[in-house]
């Protein structure tokens, strides 16, 4: 949801307004002096508000015609200090919503936007088809084709680890790590599916079932020092590599995956083993939508790999 607010003093309003709108809404608070210029271009905003704090009714009457003449634009009045003696005047001028102090305290929601659209006589947006809940890994028929998200995960800097802790302990660490990642995946609705000598391939349902695996991976990289020390009892630094890709595969239970032939499975193994680097989450373009909005800006384009656009998370400094 994209919301524009035009205010006399945008900087002053910012924190209060951010608190009133959903955290995942894209909220832009712009200076009122730029209203005319902005409205000359077609707007993609779902809702535009004119903040009357400091300009009062006179200011509303002055600026409302600019909004009212902007085609099919949905706009309303924001009145955090209840400065308008007669809020109904806003509606006479063409506004489709009025957010006074009470409504701002309750917070703006997607439901309110739907009500505004209904009030404006616009066709109500079709409610999205309720996503089919994932039936659970046990209930998927063997041999059926399945759309999933793949995640290949491995410990970072294996050469450095081999030098510092030796081959035997590295092997044990990888075993413990695979076990840890299996329960980690289960907490996000996933399953540990295959292993190779370096890492583990996890599967997750197409859509998040509770915790987002990308967010959980991000948290693991943030907590890498604590996990290395407290969980794996390592006296040397530990980091991880995560790769995500979405695609299709034939479903076979873990342990019976020897005969699987799938381009997407090949791709995730290649992405994890050849392209991902220590302390990063690497994603193919197919999984871009799996990045939760609040951490989206921490992912940057990272070139192309085997014909797919890749994103990678920024690294934490050690």
């Amino acid at each position: 949801m994209r919301i524009l607010v035009f205010s006399e003093e945008p900087a002053r309003e910012e924190s209060a307004l951010r608190a009133a709108f959903p955290a995942d809404a894209s909220l832009e608070i712009l200076p009122l002096r730029g209203l005319k210029r902005t409205m000359q271009k077609p707007s993609t905003a779902d809702m535009v508000y004119l903040n009357v704090r400091g300009i009062g009714e006179a200011g509303m009457c002055k600026h409302a015609p600019v909004l009212a003449s902007a085609g099919k634009l949905l706009w309303g009045i924001l009145d955090p200090e209840a400065e308008l003696a007669d809020p109904a005047r806003a509606f006479f001028l063409g506004a489709k919503d009025y957010l006074g102090p009470g409504a701002l305290r309750s917070g703006f929601s997607g439901q309110r936007l739907a009500q505004i659209r209904g009030f404006a006589g616009m066709e109500l947006p079709k409610p999205p088809e309720p996503a089919k809940r994932f039936p659970g890994w046990d209930r998927i028929p063997e041999g059926s084709e399945l759309a999933v998200r793949f995640c290949y995960v491995s410990v970072g800097d294996p050469e450095g680890l081999r030098e510092r802790i030796g081959e035997k302990r590295l092997r044990k660490l990888r075993e413990d790590f695979a076990e840890f990642m299996a329960s980690w995946a289960a907490e996000c609705g996933g399953i540990a599916w295959m292993r190779d000598p370096e890492g583990t391939l996890l599967l997750f349902p197409e859509r998040d079932e509770g915790t987002s695996p990308v967010l959980a991976a991000f948290r693991m990289i943030l907590d890498r020092a604590l996990i290395g020390y407290e969980v794996f009892r390592l006296e040397v630094p530990l980091t991880f590599r995560f790769s995500f890709h979405a695609g299709k595969t034939v479903w076979r239970r873990p342990g019976s995956t020897g005969t699987i032939v799938s381009g997407d499975v090949n791709f995730i193994f290649h992405l994890g083993a050849k392209y991902c680097s220590d302390g990063r989450i690497t994603l193919s373009e197919e999984t871009e939508s799996s990045i939760p909005a609040p951490i989206r800006d921490l992912f940057l384009p990272a070139g192309d790999f085997e014909g797919r656009r890749i994103l990678a998370s920024r690294r934490f400094r050690d």
């Binding site: 924190s15 967010l215 948290r219 920024r314």
Partner: protein
Amino acid sequence: MKVRNSLAQIMKKSLCEAINLDLMSRLARDIFPDYDLHERTGFPPTVPITSQLAAHHIVNDAIAENRFLHLAERLILLDREGYMGRRYPVPGLAEIVKQIRVEGYVWDENTELFMEDPRVRRTPNWGRLLDEDEFRFALLRLDVANNSRMVQTHGDSAMRGALEDLRQIVSRCVEFRAGRIWQWEGDGALAGFLFGSRVVSAVLAGMAILHELFLYDRLHNRLGEPLRIRAAVHTGTLRYYADPGKLIKQEIVQETEEIESRLTPVGSLVITPAVAPSLDRVILDRFHHIQHISDSRLLAYEVRMEGA
């Protein structure tokens, strides 16, 4: 701690079978300074006291004065280490430890003390410290930076919500590592760590809080600006008091507060020179010298991203 009659009886029997009257008196004086068996039993000094009677009084006094766990700890150490070069195996010790566990206490190998089982309950004194008990603690002190300005900007209600969120984060990170929050005063907290690797636990709790806040600011913070803290870990000897007012007057707490409020950069966890030697290199290497204070021996940690 509630001591069942059966446990008291085993303890009395073990005492009698393991040690003589003289050693029993010494053991009692470890727990109660100036303990006098004759005075406690009412027998004149010329009348000999039997081991059974002595054990009966020592155990009953330990129960009455809430020092039963202290007595059990002394017996465990006696069994392990002996006394003056002689071994004193204590019969029935395994049963004593088992019954104490049933009451919700676990043995901590690092401190060689019983502490409450965190799965059963979590109290500020770990279910066992009494006023004036003196131990070496690790302290974690933290405070919200620019709290007054934030209250002015965002209002009481919004800040109250954010501070409640912070409180939950801190409780989770501290209690997960066997620490206890001793004081929440407005926007600041004081936590104590005694059991396990107390210094390491305090430092890891501080790091975990910074990590949680990094995510909180992105996922749940509705203030429109980051909730930033200053945190400091220090260690030293401290007397425990149930009254936080008495607790915080002690020098070591004052020093920790001073370091947190005056020398800690916003968004950082600072450790003192007393803390650093207890940390393994893999954790210590995450800390760096504070740049804006020349010749400071304080080390700081913060969450930093490349390209930020």
